[in-house]
Amino acid sequence: MSIENNTNYLVIALPSGILLKPSIQLFEGIGIDLKGGKEISRKLTFFDQGEEIKFVITRPKDNPTYVECGAADIGIVGEDVLLEEKKDVYRLIDLKFGKCKMVLAAPEGREQEKCCKNNGHRLRVATKYPHIAGDYFKEKGIYVELIKLYGSVELAPQVGLADMIVDIVSTGGTLKENKLTIIEEIIPLSAQLIVNRISYKTKHERITRLIQDIKKFVSLESGKIAE
């Protein structure tokens, strides 16, 4: 990790995947020219001389790990990742993009009998988020068997691997395609800006300035959507 040895510039970790584009738009929106992110994806790291900011792209789930150990000062991460794996970082801004929700869903027509009732047979729930799902069922006092999957969770009920799923949904299209209906919305989610707990102190002025700019931009943008 050669990044952390250079303490003069700010390191910002952007998540790859669907949050990348709005993240780049966010920083371009506050006047940092990332040239649409083309250079970042080619070189992985990018150094904007004027602003002394270095960008790196991480896997979405790795993002808070970079920030927690200080390899990056600032990160952007979906709330689902933070909920699933508790990290000791400052969570400073709700960025209002990447909006989705964590839901409990079951195959259409079967939602009644399976509606969180444990009648004789132990419910099996497939999910990428065993901690979130576990906490949810624990709070309800329902004992389920959690099956941890790494993707395509919606497939599990079709082939009899699980009775229900806990997963994130944005438009609901995938659920519909797989004949699943939402039984309950567990929690609404969006992307958040996180900061390393030491950087927030040692690079306080620069980070605060950046945060103020971002907050302004976010409230402006969400205002636009509201209109």
Binding site: E4, T7, R91, R197, I198, S199, K201
Partner: protein
């Protein structure tokens, strides 16, 4: 042939560095009048739990002993010292100045953290004064300085900055707990949401949200004064100011920052709190503060303050700052080689003993190996000289410098 997750073997080269660092720190502790204390590695869980917040309780490594008691490995050492101070040293003249260096154990699986790690720290027991607070902070600075660290900051804050506002706002108890939890988790997104739905005065909201961002020199205090609206927080601010001025008298101003956003365990600390930061570490390298209520849980009313340094974190930081900062000046090592003749053996022993008395490190060849084998062994082990004993009893001995091969007759 594995060891459990989160544990480590320290090989000789690493142990040398570790001991060097420990010695640098314990030397300063000792010079300031602190005496070393050793407490057990594991104790009754209920004792250790008296000094542990909810997270720490979960992170303790526990087991049952043969008698059926719940035992826990110490997750930190302050609670054990508070127990000793209250039950075995209560008659000692106060203040008690104690220090420790020891391993602690936690199920802390954050990246880069170990389940067993070393803490060095002090406890100043039996005095509640600004001078006591200033002394342990100054000692933290001095011990970090003496460890070889060049660039670091100690941030000082106060637990009552938040406790004060929590007492004065009018929301339900469970809501208060929720607010404390989100602050402890540094989740300001959720904090803002909670504050926006609760009926809290605008000034109080501003205070809660602005407090974590106030950090700097004395001007921070003026800014805070403007928004503070309750007595407890105002008194806390005054204490910070007084301690800061004392630290200025120590001449340590350049290392100290006033930081109103320091967040440490609310149930444990009662006054001034502080943490040490460097550019090279994403976690604090030391932390501590005043804990006036802990000893009373063991039956003695002993206001106290102290801190602990994370030794592994400090070692990592030191080597990032300067790769040579934990390198020892090399002592010349000798190897005494005698030719395969048991009558020379005694002379070899005498020679080795003479050199050891001079304070040198001496190995004796015991493998009856051929000379060229011994030479390559010496080269790999970093041995400087080989002494060749080829006589029954002579003070004159052939000395060979391993790297150059230079031969010399020396007189012991």
């Amino acid at each position: 042939m594995n060891i459990p997750k989160g544990l480590n073997d320290l090989l000789p080269g690493e142990v040398l560095k570790r001991r060097l660092l420990e010695n640098r720190i314990s030397k300063i502790f000792t010079q300031w009048g602190y005496q070393e204390i050793i407490t057990p590695t594991f104790e009754f869980y209920e004792i250790l739990a008296k000094g542990a917040g909810s997270i720490m309780k979960k992170e303790m490594i526990k087991f049952f002993d043969r008698e059926g008691n719940i035992i826990a490995f110490r997750p930190e050492i302050t609670t054990s010292i508070a127990r000793v101070a209250s039950t075995k040293m209560q008659l000692e003249p106060k203040p008690s100045r104690l220090y420790y260096i020891g391993n602690v154990f936690r199920y802390d699986d954050k990246v880069g953290n170990q389940r067993e790690f070393c803490q060095a720290g002090v406890e100043l027991i039996g005095v509640n004064s600004k001078e006591a607070d200033a002394e342990v902070i100054a000692l933290a600075v001095e011990s970090l300085k003496n460890s070889g660290l060049r660039k670091f900051f100690i941030d000082i804050g106060h637990i009552n900055l938040f406790n004060g506002i929590m007492q004065s706002i009018k929301v339900k108890e469970e809501r208060k707990q929720e607010i404390k939890d989100v602050i402890l988790n540094k989740n300001f997104v959720l904090l803002e949401k909670i504050l926006s739905i609760e009926d809290i005065k605008a000034k109080e909201k501003e205070y809660i949200l602005k407090m974590p961002t106030l950090r700097g020199k004395e001007e921070v205090l003026e800014e805070a004064e403007k928004i503070i609206d309750n007595q407890l927080s105002a008194a806390a601010l005054k204490e910070i100011k007084e301690v800061y001025h004392l630290l200025r008298d120590y001449g340590l101003e350049e290392y100290i920052l006033i930081d109103l956003g320091i967040i440490r365990d609310f149930d444990y600390y009662t006054g001034i709190i502080f943490e040490g930061y460097t550019d090279y570490m994403g976690f604090p390298i030391c932390g501590g503060g005043r804990y006036d209520n802990l000893c009373s849980k063991f039956g003695e009313d002993l206001p106290s303050t102290g801190f602990a340094i994370g030794i592994e974190r400090l070692a990592t930081t030191l080597e990032k700052e300067d790769a040579n900062s934990l390198k020892l000046g090399r002592l010349n090592k000798y190897l005494v080689y005698y030719q395969n003749n048991t009558t020379y053996f005694k002379n070899a022993l005498i020679t080795a003993e003479k050199l050891r008395k001079k304070g040198l490190i001496v190995e004796l060849e015991i493998g009856k190996r051929k000379y060229d084998k011994v030479l390559s062994y010496a080269r790999l082990k970093g041995i400087k000289y080989i002494l060749i004993i080829a006589d029954h009893q002579s003070d004159k001995i052939n000395r060979i410098e391993v790297i150059s091969g230079k031969k010399e007759m020396i007189n012991l």
